[in-house]
Every structure is written in C-alpha cells, then in structure tokens.
C-alpha cells in the first residue's frame, strides 16, 4: 500500500464540481509533481491532502490512516506564502517549531529555528518582517517554516509561480538540494512542466476543469543530480515535455465554453499610474463604467 493514497476523490463547491474521481498513490520518499492549468483545482487538491478541506466523496489516506484534519505530519507551503505579517522571520518559524515540539526548551527551539533559517540562506534577514522581504525570500521563509515542523510529507502549492525566472531557478535548486538531503516525500504543485521534470521523480498532469482529474503519470528517468544546462538538450527531457504539454492541451481542447456574465465592477476606472500626471492629461472626472453592463467572454483553450 502506498504512503499517500487518494481513492476516487471528488470535490464540488455548492453545485460546481471542481475535481472528479482523482486517484493518486505516492510512495514514501518519492518526489511527485502535479502539473495543471490555473483554476483547475490544484490548490483544492492539496488543501484536501493537508486536511483543510474535506472531499465531497472518496477517501484520502496517509500512512494507512484517513485524513480528517491538518496534522504535523504534513508540512504545507501555501501558494501565497501565508506568513503572519506581524511576526519576524524568526518568529514565524518559531511558531511552527513550538507548535510541533511543545516540550522543547527555549534554547533548543532557538537552535532548531536558526538551523532552518540558515538552510534557506536567510540568516541576515532573521529579524525582518515579511513586508520587508522580496517574494523569493518570503517563499524561502515559508519553506523553512514547513521544514521546521519536520513533516513526513511536504506539500508545495505552486511555491515558485509568483517569482521571476532567475529567483525561480535558484529556489528550484534549493528545493532539489533540501530534498536530496533528507529524502522527504514531496508533492509539488506547479504550472510549469519544465519545473516538474527538473525536480520530480514522476509528473502527473491535472486535466483542465471543471471535473478535473489526474491523467497518467510520466516517469522522469533523468538521473540525479540533474544539471539545469544540459537537461535542455536531453532527448528524454524534450520528449517528456512534448508528451505532457500535448496531453494537457488535449484535455483542454475538449472544453470550449462561452460564458455570458453580469459584470459587477467598481464604477470607477482605475487610474493608470504609468501615465505621467501633466496638467493636460489631468482628467477632472473619473471614467465611469456605468454604461458597460454586460460583457461576453469566450473561454478558449
């Protein structure tokens, strides 16, 4: 029996069915990447594994036991970092460490937290508040917080999607290094097939929603440590990428919907701050949107 097992998991919000019959089996120590379009239900899926959401039907099991609530065995890195803005880097991570190890002495906790801050190269920023950090740094705090709980399995929800390409590459290497150090089970959600191939043992595409479900898994046979530069010329890599992208686009072209919806927008057009405020360009009245009542949006693959 696999370490993490999802059996026919479906989830709908109200009447809207987001995920349908999702099956997944992840072995201990395995690094699995789930690739999907935005809005397909990736966050919903990982929230169910984390125990934050309950499935509408089906079962989720970790280590043979039904997942009913969040637990310290699962460390999660949220898509939007979710750091507490009133706590410093140190305090954010300490909060997690304390919660998991209530009996530790303050010294031991401090040492533990410092270790994880160092692991993600943030020691110089340890006393900063999240608002003083760049996106990449916040993401690293979020990763350190999850790791400091010493979870069995690490759930990463698009941890790098919001970052620029260079920071992204650096953090990918960091995630890869951390994983190779203590071989935790990892489920990585991403919208970038390349990222999945570079990091994971196995890639599973999530079809486009609604009623999204997991497709066949693609094994990544590229030996580790993987080299970012040479991987681009690797035939297996290229083939994998073609297959995954093709599968995902195929799943999307089956759906072609036109939605007509009532637009509920603020009545005032936001001002474009890039336009310099000269006296001539100055508009006395804001632009009203009142006339625009309805808009037809074609949703294309």
């Amino acid at each position: 029996m696999a370490y993490l097992e999802l059996n026919n998991v479906s989830k709908s919000f109200g009447g809207a069915s987001v995920l349908k019959d999702v099956n997944l089996a992840v072995e201990q120590g395995e690094f699995v990447a789930i690739v999907g379009f935005s809005g397909a239900g990736k966050t919903t899926l990982i929230s169910m594994i984390a125990g934050l959401l309950k499935p509408t039907s089906g079962s989720l099991k970790l280590n043979g036991r039904e997942i009913t609530e969040p637990g310290p065995d699962r460390g999660i890195v949220f898509q939007n970092y979710s750091l507490l803005p009133w706590l410093t880097v140190f305090e954010n991570i300490l909060l997690a460490a304390e919660a998991v190890n209530p009996n530790w002495s303050p010294d031991k906790l401090k040492e533990h937290v410092e270790k994880y801050i160092a692991m993600v190269n943030l020691t110089p920023a340890r006393n900063k508040k999240p608002s003083e950090l760049s996106g990449g740094m916040r993401q690293r705090v979020s990763v350190a917080r999850a790791l400091a709980m010493n979870p069995q399995i690490l759930l990463l929800d698009e941890p790098l999607s919001a970052l620029d390409a260079l920071t992204r590459a650096t953090l990918q290497d960091e995630i890869s290094r951390i994983w190779s150090e203590d071989k935790k089970t990892v489920v990585l959600i991403t919208n970038d097939p390349d990222e999945g191939i570079y990091l994971a043992d196995r890639i599973i595409p999530l079809t486009a929603g609604p009623n999204a479900t997991l497709g066949p898994s693609f094994k990544v046979g590229i030996p580790r440590p993987r080299d970012r530069k040479s991987i681009n010329h690797n035939e297996h890599f290229k083939q994998l990428r073609r297959d995954i992208v093709e599968f995902m686009l195929g799943s999307k072209s089956e759906r072609h919907t036109a939605i007509t919806k009532k637009m509920i927008l603020p009545d005032i057009e936001p001002e474009d701050l890039n336009i310099p405020r000269t006296m001539t360009a100055w508009r006395k009245t804001p632009i009203r949107k009142r006339e625009q009542k309805e808009e037809s949006v074609e949703v294309k693959p």
């Binding site: 984390a50 699962r74 999660i76 507490l84 909060l95």
Partner: protein
C-alpha cells in the same frame, strides 16, 4: 516648502479669522447676549493664565477642570474597552452569538447619553456619595463601547482565511491562535474602534458632568450658565473641542502605527 506653510498655517489662520469676524458681527446684530471675542478673552483670562489654580470647588483653572474630566473619561473608556472588545470578538467569531445579540446592540446603540444617565444614577443609588461618579462611568462606558464592539467584530470577520489556515495547519492551541493570529490580525480594526469610542466618551463626559454637577469642564460650563457668566461657556466649548481634537490625533497616531505593522 512655501506652499506647505501656506496650506498648514496661513489658510487655517484665515479660517479662524473669518469665524471671529462672524462672531463679532453676530454680537453686534442678532445675538445681543453673546459675549464678544474680546470680552470672552478678558473674562476667561484668569482661567487660562493660571490653568491649574484652585480657588474653590467650582472655581478652578481650566486645565485643572479638564484634568478631572479626563480622569473620569479614562476610567469610563477603559471600562468600555474591557467590556466591548470581548463582546466584539464573540460577535466576530460566532454567527449564533451575532444573531442573538446584534438586534439588541443595534437598538441600544443610538440611545443618547442623556437617556442613559438617569438610569445609571438609579442603578447606583445605593452607593451614596459615589453614585454620581458610578452613574457617569456607567453612561460613558455604555455609550462609548459600541464602535469598539462593532469594529472588533468586523476585524475578526475580516481575518483572511490564509491566516486561519496557518493556525489550523500548525495546530495552534486556542490561546495561541487568539494571541498570535486573531488579535494581531484584527488589531487595526480594533484601534479604529478604540479611536471612535474615545471620541464618544469625550462627548458623553460633558453631558454626564452637566447633569451630575461634578467638577470638570462640563460641570463648570453648566454652573457658569446658571451664574450668567456666558464668556465661560465659550471658554469651555473651545477647551472641549481642543481636547477632543488632541485626543483624536493621538489615537490616530497609535492607530497608524498598528496599520502599518
């Protein structure tokens, strides 16, 4: 820099001058009983120049009176926060609690301090010579706590799901969740409530002192009205306004500090 001075110094001074002129003109035309600005200054001078003098129970420097009022306000305001904040938290956290108590809060909220005060005096009738103070405290507290209650409730309801998820994933205990997540997350809203409450508490104090005849700006105002020294009414009004303005400024400084934190 030049326009800065103009905006913040010259324009307000022009405003004051206009009001003084209108005042003077009113004295000369339709309001014959209204003391002129010069007369007001002359009669008020001893109270301003020796602001802490104590010549008798109801004849004291204006800042000394203000001080008495501030102490009473501080006590009543403190009471309002201590009672109002937890109620706000319950309202924010529990739908059932909201459904049960929101209607009664909406009904009690617009009741004027002038209506509450007699009830306060009745409630504490047994307290002898403390009755007027306790009645006043009751009135200040019950009138000024509503903004704290409502803003705290809104603040708690507005806590982003992300923060609550963090608390759930980290399995924080109830107390930890309260002190590390709920309170810090709603603090900016709470402080808006605290500031509005302080404004109301200061409004109420005058009414409370007038009706109970306690020494303080409001009590002094009422006494001088009865003693036909109308200049002092204006002195009191200006003092009440200035003190209220300063309190509001101080609170919004504190509020800003928490908004950015």
């Amino acid at each position: 820099m030049k326009s800065f001075k103009f905006d913040w110094l010259v324009l307000p001074l022009i405003g004051v001058a206009v009001v003084l002129l209108l005042w003077q003109a009113s004295c000369a035309t339709w309001a014959k009983d209204l003391p002129t600005p010069a007369k007001t200054w002359e009669i008020s001078k001893p109270y301003i120049m020796e602001p802490f003098a104590k010549r008798g129970e109801m004849d004291q420097g204006i800042l000394r009176f203000t001080w008495y009022s501030l102490i009473l306000v501080a006590k009543g305001y403190f009471l309002a926060l201590v009672i109002g904040t937890p109620i706000g938290f319950f309202l924010g956290l529990s739908k059932t609690f909201t459904k049960a108590f929101d209607p009664i809060i909406q009904v009690l909220r617009p009741v004027s301090p002038l209506a509450w005060l007699p009830l306060g005096l009745v409630l504490f009738m047994g307290a002898g010579k403390n009755a007027s103070e306790l009645g006043a405290l009751f009135t200040i507290a019950i009138c000024s706590m509503w903004p704290t209650v409502l803003n705290t409730a809104v603040g708690v309801r507005a806590i982003p799901q992300d923060y609550l998820n963090v608390a759930k994933v980290l399995k924080l205990s109830r107390t930890k969740t309260l002190f590390k997540v709920l309170i810090p997350a709603s603090l900016p809203y709470m402080f808006t409530g605290f500031r509005l409450s302080l404004g109301i508490a200061w409004l109420v104090i005058v009414a409370a002192e007038m009706l109970t005849g306690r020494p303080g700006v409001g009590g002094f105002l009422w006494q001088e009205y009865n003693a036909l020294i109308y200049e002092h009414i204006i002195l009191c009004i200006v003092t009440i306004g200035v003190v209220g303005f300063i309190l509001d400024r101080l609170m919004s400084l504190v509020e800003k500090k928490f908004k950015t934190a």
